[in-house]
Amino acid sequence: MTTKVGVVTFPGTNCEQDVAWAVKVLGGEPQVLWHADPTVGTADAVVLAGGFAHGDYLRTGAIARFSPVMDAVAEFARAGGPVVGICNGFQILCEAGLLAGALQKNAGLKFRCQTVELRVETTSTVLTRNAAAGQILRIPINHFEGNFVCDEPTLKGLQENDQVVLRYVENPNGSLDDIAGICNDGRNVVGLMPHPERAAEAILGSADGAVLLRSLL
């Protein structure tokens, strides 16, 4: 059966069509969800796409977490449903408390738009089960606030529970412990700053993102 992927779109989200396209190309069925929707419909998996939800006013993701659809996303996640936040979606999941930590301005105060190398640190998550541990993936980043930060006990917990999903080979933004992506305790909620949907076909310069997105399907 074709996996239905709900792609959550807030006012200011701008990557939902890219995610929907990649899902379709890889054999899934995308369903674009609006932030005011009270449910995630019949989705088998949910992706929070990148962009600038609600203008990123106050803090990235701070307003978006109160959109009606987020209650449904939290409920879906609690029931074990796969939820992935890409870039702004990662920031929203952190603000919503579905993932630990926060993302702040890049250490060099530079907007980073480049293809980076990522190391897959664990394959026991909804986004990396089709990858190999230690595999290097070339995927673009495109952010000003991707500098992951959390307190020492939280970092220790993430490390000890194998919740660091992806690390940068060369840290582009000052992110703590080179973290590019993490997951929750249940391993069904994953957030990452890089954009796998922008590397889902060879014509885009890299198809490495397909390794991640296929894990969802």
Binding site: A107, L109, V149
Partner: protein
């Protein structure tokens, strides 16, 4: 009911990198201000609130800070309340 003005300052928690503060701190010596250090950049939020008394007003502003105005993972805040009438 009384009216209060709340001035909320949101800043980085100690130990959290403040890239903007760092850039400003490095820029000031170029203008001849070599004796400046510990530059921190935060946000200032002002709002008016109606409440039964100052305690109730402060409790509500605290709650709003925890829920929305600051992110406790990276930020802390101070609240100044002034009765306006």
């Amino acid at each position: 009911m009384s009216s209060y003005e709340a001035r909320i300052e949101v800043g980085h928690r100690p130990g959290i990198l403040d890239p903007q503060g760092g850039v400003i701190e490095r820029a000031l010596p170029a203008l001849g201000y070599g004796n400046v250090s510990h530059v921190r950049v935060g946000k200032s939020i002002r709002l008016a609130v109606e409440a039964a008394d100052e305690g109730a007003a402060r409790a509500q502003v605290e709650e709003m800070c925890r829920k929305l105005l600051a992110n406790p993972v990276i930020e802390d805040y101070t609240i100044e309340l002034t009765e306006t009438m």
